[in-house]
């Protein structure tokens, strides 16, 4: 980082006895909802002794790290993604030499921490550079790009740039002040029809917590929120670099009526804040119901009770009764998830058999639980089988897992297997908001049975193109490869059902137009379509893998994930990032070890929960003067592994 004379003065002023950060720069390039973020930091060991210098970056859980480089006193370490088994071997070798160390992530709501430390002599200069990519997911009508900024120190050159390029135009863009009052109005936004640029560049003085403070006030999430213009309800088709991405987010359609059974865990572990916040959330959720909706409540501990044995319309009287019932629940006892879910399904089946359910309506079960089953059927695989067996094609299951005592992976699996999604609810002061937000995302189904198709021989390797539901404010995304053709345009055909309505929509895109436009853009992320296709495909394969019924199928999926992740340089749960010096004499490794609670998400569903990723581990094997430190104590979800353990690795 070359500092201006003014910045150099600042640098000298803050130069202390330990470590000085010369510059900290974050740049995100979002093109057609796909984002490439680069975090660069230039640090000097300005103390008299050798010491550890850390580089911690919080990245969204749904992002894939694509590269990490490090320049230590002129020696460059460059990253490349490798198959995980290779990484594991190197890790083992490094461990044998006593030089193993880890990079860990802290479990926060949506972020995980990429963390490394190098032990360097005095005067050392280190430059870190981390790259990651993610797809923007539309929720409640917006795409939200979050950057967790925590430079740790005052920085002479601190800058965040977010460049957005949306070929069809930007409908709105804003930078809500999520960093706190201290930085109110400091983010500068410039936007035109299809581009936006947000700059956040606080001076050294502005970074100070108070006028004479030596600590930085920058510690929080920097947010950019935007939405795109949509000419029609048929969706947008973007073709670039031999790949296509189809975005489907129709608006101005009336919501479908819902038949909903709330299944609420009221076991002893829910006692206290969890129950209080669930009740709070339910008060608002029930108010959202209309006369067109039907609902009931099943609450369970070791026993299962129904507020009403049958679905009732969401009238003011029924809603008031239901609210009163929930208010009076006193949590105690065990957890009988199996029985509760069976009862909920029976209720929907009965209503359906009695002709109470409008065939165009959406029937859903919303399970809220905070713990594993302890009563009745406790084998998770058996519960999964039982639920799948009784669920009908037109029903779906949504799961909310409160806290970390619940097997979230299980909740996610049963939701995914039954046309729903899962969401982890973090037990914090805003748990009721989290529940409400999740409900808002799924409470307005607009379309059912959505299929996006393309003319024969025009495309290949298409990602998921059948979707059970489309919810208001979300987006369905289908990507694929474009096959060579004499035609100059690609067409897509979307069919769907709405309330009393059958839809068939058509859209088209020119093969070359977008690439020509991208070539004119200085800050666009060219190649977005190729990476986005791979991102969605890998995520879908990870989801398929978690549901694979046989070891053989799982192996095949694993191989496909590995091939794609290596080709597109994604650090996935199955790959690792090898960081080598230019002559490959010195080597570091960033790894994502197996997480028993690994779950995943379908890339294109438009409604996905955060992908739970594992700690990134990093070891070095050679350089004596680069010493990786021991990672921070693991969080609750990342307990240290016992010394003697039986492992079945890589399937």
């Amino acid at each position: 980082a070359i500092l201006t004379s003014e910045e150099q003065e600042d640098f000298e002023a803050i130069r202390g006895d330990d470590i000085t950060v010369k510059s900290y720069k974050v740049e995100s390039r979002i093109t057609s909802r796909f984002c490439h973020t680069t975090v660069k930091s230039s640090v000097v060991n300005s103390g008299p002794n050798a010491q550890s210098i850390g580089f911690n970056v919080q990245i969204p859980k749904r992002a894939f790290i694509t590269n990490f480089t490090m320049n230590v006193n002129g020696i460059m370490f460059v990253g490349s993604v490798k198959e995980k088994t290779v990484a594991r071997n190197l890790y083992a070798q490094a461990r044998a030499r006593g030089k193993a160390a880890g990079l860990v992530r802290a479990n926060s709501q949506d972020m995980e921490t990429f963390k490394t430390e190098v032990h360097v002599p005095p005067g050392s200069k280190i430059e870190f550079e981390l790259h990651y990519q993610e797809m923007m997911q539309r929720k409640l009508g917006f795409y939200e790009h979050s950057l967790y900024l925590q430079p740790g120190r005052l920085v002479p050159q601190f800058q965040v740039d977010v460049y957005i390029y949306e070929p069809n135009g930007i409908a709105s863009v804003e930078t809500p002040n999520t960093l706190g009052e201290h930085f109110s109005g400091m983010a500068k936004l410039t936007s035109s029809k299809d581009k936006a640029h947000v700059v956040f560049k606080p001076s050294l003085q502005q970074q100070r917590k108070c006028e004479n403070c030596t600590t930085s006030a920058i510690d929080g999430i920097f947010t950019v929120r935007y939405d795109v213009l949509r000419d029609s309800n048929a969706g947008e088709l973007h073709v670039s670099d031999g790949h296509f991405v189809h975005f489907f987010a129709p608006a101005n359609l009336s919501p479908l009526p819902k038949n909903i059974v709330f299944v609420i865990d009221v076991s002893g572990s829910m006692w206290g804040v969890k129950m209080k916040q669930t009740v709070e959330a339910m008060q608002t959720i029930l108010d959202d119901l209309t006369l067109d909706d039907y609902f009931s409540i099943v609450d369970f501990n070791h026993n299962v009770r129904c507020w009403s044995e049958e679905l009732v319309p969401g009238s003011t009287i029924q809603v008031a009764e239901a609210k009163k019932y929930i208010q009076n629940i006193k949590p105690n006892g065990g957890t009988n998830i199996n029985e509760a879910l069976m009862r909920a399904v029976q209720m929907l089946v009965k209503a359906s058999n009695q002709g109470m359910i409008d065939p165009r309506s959406v029937s859903m079960i919303m399970l809220v639980s905070d713990g594993d089953p302890t009563v009745g059927e406790i084998k998770l695989s058996a519960i999964q089988k039982n639920v799948k067996k009784v669920m009908r094609e037109e029903f779906s299951l949504f799961s909310l897992g409160i806290g970390f005592d619940v097997d979230y992976d299980f909740l996610e699996r049963i939701a995914m297997e039954n046309r729903g999604v899962a969401q982890r609810i973090y037990t914090s002061h805003d748990a009721s908001d989290q529940i409400r937000r999740f409900y808002s995302q799924v409470s307005s189904p607009l379309l059912r049975k959505i299929t996006v198709q393309f003319p024969e021989d025009s495309v290949s390797d298409v990602t998921q193109n059948h979707f059970d539901k489309y919810f208001s404010g979300s987006e369905l995304v289908v990507a694929g490869k474009v096959l060579p053709s004499e035609s100059t345009t690609l067409n897509s055909f979307t069919t769907a059902f709405a309330d009393r309505l059958d839809l068939s929509l058509q859209t088209e895109a020119d093969y070359l137009e977008l690439d020509a436009a991208l070539a004119q853009q200085q800050h666009a992320f060219t190649g977005f379509a190729r990476q986005m296709w791979a991102y969605i495909t890998v995520n879908q394969l990870l989801a398929e893998r978690s549901l694979a019924p046989t070891a053989g199928k799982k192996r095949k999926i694993t191989q496909r994930i590995l091939t794609l992740a290596v080709e597109h340089q994604f650090v996935t749960p199955l790959t690792a990032l090898l960081v080598e010096s230019e002559e490959a004499k010195e080597r570091l490794l960033a790894d994502s070890p197996r997480d028993p609670k690994q779950g995943c998400c379908a890339g294109g569903s438009g409604m996905v929960g955060p992908r739970q990723r594992t700690p990134v581990q990093m070891v070095h094997s050679i350089p004596l003067w680069v010493q990786m430190t021991t990672p921070a104590p693991p969080s609750h979800a990342e307990r240290p592994l016992p010394d003697h353990i039986t492992i079945v690795e890589n399937d």
Partner: protein
């Protein structure tokens, strides 16, 4: 707007203009027997000078199918489908086929909408987009209704009344005031009218230039050719049927 009525039995086209006021809703087809009503709301051209005449065009065409309670409202901006409880809105930006109960709507991107009711009555609405900064012109809609629509015997309206084709006789062909336009006498519905030979445009095949349709032009807003006065066809709402006589 100008109307061209094709009379297949008489093998001729008859045309007339109706210049009403912007905002007025004209009833085009009112068929209580079939439960279908087609109305058009007028929009005016931009006024350059106070004294200048404001031309009117159709800015909204509405098709209401009473038995299913479905209304399709086509404007120059979007196409709305409402059934009393739900409202689904589509733009001109994409080709789409929508079916709700017995009503089918086919949108051809930036071009036209076909509304078919109960497989018996079809209406085609053509979108005419003009240069946004044009000093006087505005976007407008054209309406095309095929002759083979299966109306009930109760069908009426500016266009619907010609579902039952009247007897027409044209005679006394002679040179008119304009040497390029011949005049004649038309006998229709017991009236004798002075008509002028002219032509109007059909834009279905070529939306830019259109194709000429030669027709006998009826003066005074179709007076004598249509039943009653054109003002009798002004209705209060987009889903209003014509009141029974």
């Amino acid at each position: 707007p100008h109307f061209i009525i094709h009379l297949p039995k008489n093998n001729m086209d008859v045309c007339f203009n109706i210049d009403s006021e912007p905002g007025h809703i004209l009833n085009l087809v009112s068929d209580p027997g079939a439960g279908v009503v087609v109305n058009g709301q007028l929009v005016g051209s931009k006024r350059v000078e106070e004294k200048e005449k404001v031309n009117t065009y159709f800015g909204t065409i509405s098709v209401f199918y009473q038995p299913d309670g479905i209304r399709v409202s086509v404007t120059t901006d979007r196409i709305d489908l409402t059934d009393g409880r739900n409202n689904h809105s589509f733009t001109w930006g994409a080709t789409a086929d929508i079916t709700q109960d017995r009503v089918k709507v086919s949108i051809v991107k930036d071009s036209k909408v076909m509304v078919t009711v109960d497989d018996k009555i079809t209406v085609m609405v053509l979108l005419h987009r003009v240069w946004k900064k044009h000093p006087t012109h505005v976007d407008f809609l054209g309406l095309y209704i095929p002759n083979n629509n299966q109306y009930s015997s109760q069908a009426h309206g500016l266009i619907g009344q010609f579902g039952q084709e009247p007897e027409v006789r044209v005679f006394n062909l002679h040179q008119g005031a304009d040497p390029l336009k011949k005049e004649a006498t038309m006998e229709v519905k017991g009236n004798k009218l002075v008509v002028t030979r002219g032509w109007q445009k059909d834009y279905r095949r070529d939306k830019k230039r259109g194709s000429d349709v030669f027709c006998w032009f009826i003066h005074n807003s179709g007076k004598g050719f249509i039943d009653g006065h054109y003002a009798n066809y002004i209705v209060p709402r987009l889903d209003s049927f014509l009141p029974l006589p």
